[in-house]
Symmetry: C3
C-alpha cells in the first residue's frame, strides 16, 4: 500500500481502550495489538505469536506484559518472549515487532515506521476532549474502501454541494469557486471566505447573511483539522480575504478533527469529532451538529464505497482530474515524495 | 463472457423504472445506468463517471441530463460531459459509453453491441401487460449462477419430470419423449403434443384427459416465449402432430415470456410473466399459476445454483450430453457462431 | 491438501443419516453423497452427475439406486449410470467415483483412498452410543480453519491451561509438565499422571485431592480417543507412573471420542462425544460434562479460527516449535511419511 510509514496513525479513541483489555487493529495491513496496563502505560506489538501465530489480542495482561492465551508464551512490552511454559531456554529469535504508541488529543496514535525514529512532535494538533474550549461529540465509521479514496474526498470540498446537498445544505455556488490552497511541510492548507451566506445547516443560528470563514489543514498521514466561524457581512473584503482572528467571530466558531486510518488494502476506519467553541454553542448545539454530521458522513460512505466497487470492476481504472483536484494532487504528490524518500532510505540501509 | 453482444437484453420491468430515478444494472459485466426522464424518454449510459469513477446511478436527473452527485459533472444522454463545476474547459475525452435502450412488451431492453447498429426489429415478440388478450402475472429472480446454465435449463424441458415433479407435476412419460426441434434464424423452436394427459397442475381445469399442445421459441440472447393449450382427445392424431390453431383450443390457452440476463460472470437475473388467455382464465387462475410458477422457479434456482457450486469446485468440468441435449447444443452452437461473427467483424474493423 | 488418503474419515453421526435422505459432505475437497437405503445398506458416491454436474445429493433414492433429480439419470451404488431417460444407449464412461463407507461406533466413516483397498480394521476404536459402558453426549462444530490446525491443538494439551482456564479449569501446573509420548503404528499416545489435583471442573465430584490419570491416542487421520479417571492419592507413585487399570478408578472414569474431518482447504468439521462410565456417572453428569465441553470447544474454535485468519494474512507464515510440540511434530511427521508412501505408490502405479 502506498502510504507514508513514518507517521502517526490513529488506532482508537482514548475512551475505547479499556485497562488490561488488549485491542486489535490492522493498520497498513499489519495486525497490531494495543493494551493499556493497570499502571496506565500503553504498549503496542505485532498481533501474532511467534509460536503458532495465534493473535496476542486474545491474550491476558500480566503487569506490563502480555501472555498469549493459546499456549502461554509471555511477551514483554518490547516484543521479547520472556517465558515459554514447560521450556527453560528461550530462543533469541522469539520476539515480535514493537510499535511506538502515544495517547494525545483523545486519540491513540501508532507510529508505523521504525519505532526508534518515532517523533511525537509529528502528531497533528487535533482537538480532543481534553481541550478546554470546545464541546465535542465523536464517532467512527468503518469503510469497505481504501483510505486514499476517503482522503481524496476530504481534499476536495466541492463534493459538499452534491453529496451533502441534503445534510450540510451547501449551495451550488460553493462548488463554482476554489479555495486558497497552500502547501505545508506535512500537508495542504485550504482557506476560503464564503460571503453573504447563511451558513451550514448544522451550525446556523440565524437566517441573517454574514461572511463565513472556513480553513483546514489536511496532514500526513490523513488527518483533517478544520475550524470555521461567522463574521459580520463585509469582513472578508475588509480583511482583503485574509484569515480572520478566531476571537472576532460573532457566531458558529467550531472545530472538527478527522482521521483516516488505512486498515487493509480496501478497508479503512474514519474517526471524527466536531463541536462548537464554548462561547458559540453548548451540548445541545453539539448534539445537533453530530446528528447532521452523522447523516453527512453516511452520505460520503455510500458514495465512496460505491466508487470503490466501480473501481474494482474496472479493468484499468483511470481518473480525469478537474480544477477542483488541485488539493488532491498536491497531497498525493507529497505522499508519493515521502514514500520515495522512505524507500530510498530503506535501500540505503540495506 | 461468451454471449452475443448484438442483441437486446432485458434490464428491467417497465413498471420498475420510475421517472427520474436512475436505475443500475450490470449486463455482461458492464455497469449501466438507465433513467426515464420527466418527458418520458429513456436513456442508458455507462455507470461510471469519467472524473473519479463514482457511479452515475447515484446521480440526479436534470431534464434529459444526468448529473454525477459526487463532484457535479453533468452528462447528456449521449454520454458527453456538458458541465464541470468550477471549470470552464471540458476535455473532448470527457464522455462515457452510451447504450441503445427501448421499452417494449413491458420490458426495458438494452442493446449490448454498438449502439449505432441497434435494430429494434430484433426485439423478441414477448407478451407484456399491454397485450389485450392475456391476464399476466410477473416476477424475477436473481441467480448466483451464470446465465448459460439457466438457458441450458430452459432448452431441455425433460427436467420438468424431475425438478418439478412436485410443482408442475409433470409425469415420467414426459422425459421419455423428445419434442420436435427446429432451428430459427435467431433461436430454436420446440413443439410437442402430449396426448391424453390431464395437464399441468397450475392450469388444469378438469381431470378429463385431452391432447395438449406446447410450443416455445428460445431466442437470442436468452428469451423464452411459450404458449400451450388443451384440445379434444384425438386432435394430435387428426392434425398429424402438426401445430394447432390457438382459436381451436378448448381449455388452458396460456402464454409465458421469460428472459435470462447475464449480469456478472456468475450472476444472472431471470424475468418471467405468465397467465391465461382471457377466454380461458381470469385473475384467479393467473394467481394460481403464478403460485405454482413461484414454487417451480425456486426449484430451478436451488438446482442450478447447486450445479454452479459443483462446477466451481471441479478442476476441469466436463459435461456428457444426452439425447435431450439437442436443443441445448443447437442454441449454444448458434451463440458460438454469432459470437465468432461478431469477433471477426471486430477484427476486420480494427 | 496434505492429508493421508488411505484412512477412514468421519462423515457424520449415525443418527444424522436418515433413511433415503441423501447427505452431502465435502471431504479432502471431494464432494461426496452418502445415503442409507430402506434396506439399511449404506452407499457413497462422488456428488456430481456425469451429465451436467448437478449434485446427486439433491437426488431421489430408488431401492439401492440414486436418481439425479435434474434430468433423471439413475446411478447404481457402484457409481454406474444404469438409466438415461429418453435414451437407449448408456456410454461406458457414464459413471462417477464410488467410496467405501462403513457405519461403526455411531459414526459414518468414508475411506478416501482406493475403495478396493479399504480396510475396516483401520477404523479407530472409538466409543459410540452402542457401547454398553458409557453414558455419552455428542456434538459437532464446523470450523473456518484447516483441519491440521485443529489436529495440532489436540496434539498439545498445554493449551488447556490457557484456552480453557475458565472452562475445564486446568491450572498453571499442567502446562509446566510434559506427558509421556509414544509413537503408535498409526498415531501418537499421550499419557500422564496429575498428582494431588482436584480434577477437571466438568467431572469433579469432590474437592478432595487425588491422583488423576489421563491417556489418549491421536490416530490417523485425526481421531482422538481419551480416557481419564481418579485414583487414590499416592497411586501414581505406587505404580511408578505407569498406566493404571480402569477398574481400579475410584471416581470420574470417562471417555471421549473426537474426530477432525478436513472438508475444504480451510474448512473442517469437528465431531465429539463424551461421558462418564456408568459406574462413575449418569445422564446428569454427562449433561454437565457436555455443557462444559460446549464452552471449551467454543473457546478452541475462537482461538483456532483467529489463528487461521492471522496465518492467512501472513506472507510467509512460520512457526517456532516449543518443547510441548513434540506430539505435534511426531504426528505430522507420520502424516508426511504416509502421504509420501501413498504418492510413491501412485507414481509406481502410473
Amino acid at each position: 500500500m502506498n502510504y507514508v510509514r513514518n507517521a502517526w496513525y490513529v488506532a482508537s479513541w482514548s475512551q475505547d481502550l479499556d485497562t488490561e483489555k488488549p485491542f486489535a487493529i490492522t493498520i497498513l495491513g499489519e495486525r497490531i495489538v494495543i493494551w493499556r496496563t493497570a499502571e496506565g502505560s500503553l504498549h503496542a506489538l505485532e498481533d501474532r505469536c511467534v509460536h503458532r501465530l495465534a493473535p496476542l489480542s486474545l491474550g491476558r495482561c500480566e503487569g506490563e506484559r502480555l501472555r498469549c492465551m493459546y499456549h502461554g508464551l509471555l511477551f514483554n512490552p518490547d516484543g521479547e518472549v520472556v517465558e515459554i511454559p514447560g521450556q527453560e531456554l528461550i530462543p533469541a529469535t522469539a520476539r515480535v515487532k514493537h510499535y511506538a504508541v502515544v495517547e494525545r488529543h483523545s486519540w491513540i496514535w501508532v507510529w508505523m515506521g521504525d519505532a526508534r525514529a518515532a517523533d511525537p512532535a509529528l502528531i497533528p494538533p487535533a482537538v480532543g476532549f481534553d481541550h478546554p474550549d470546545y464541546v465535542l461529540g465523536c464517532g467512527q465509521l468503518d469503510y469497505a474502501a481504501e483510505a486514499r479514496l476517503i482522503n481524496d474526498n476530504l481534499l476536495d470540498f466541492s463534493h459538499l454541494t452534491y453529496v451533502h446537498a441534503n445534510s450540510f445544505g451547501t449551495g451550488n455556488d460553493f462548488a463554482e469557486r476554489q479555495p486558497k490552497i497552500t502547501m505545508l511541510a506535512r500537508g495542504v492548507r485550504f482557506e476560503r471566505w464564503i460571503r453573504g451566506g447563511i451558513g451550514n445547516a448544522a451550525i446556523r443560528v440565524s437566517e441573517e447573511p454574514m461572511d463565513r470563514w472556513q480553513s483546514y489543514d489536511f496532514l500526513i498521514p490523513g488527518v483533517l483539522l478544520m475550524w470555521s466561524a461567522g463574521y459580520p457581512l463585509g469582513t472578508a473584503e475588509a480583511l482583503d480575504y485574509q484569515q480572520p482572528r478566531q476571537e472576532d467571530a460573532i457566531t458558529g466558531l467550531n472545530f472538527t478533527s478527522q482521521a483516516v486510518t488505512p486498515m487493509g488494502e480496501k478497508t479503512a476506519r474514519y474517526f471524527f469529532s466536531w463541536g462548537p467553541h464554548r462561547r458559540h454553542g453548548d451540548e445541545q448545539m453539539r448534539d445537533n451538529m453530530m446528528k447532521v454530521a452523522g447523516q453527512a458522513f453516511a452520505e460520503d460512505k455510500v458514495m465512496i464505497e460505491a466508487q470503490q466497487r466501480v473501481i474494482d470492476e474496472t479493468a484499468s481504472p483511470q481518473i480525469m482530474p478537474t480544477s477542483h483536484d488541485r488539493g488532491v494532487t498536491l497531497f498525493n504528490g507529497l505522499v508519493r515524495k515521502l514514500v520515495q524518500t522512505e524507500n530510498a532510505g530503506a535501500r540505503d540501509a540495506a
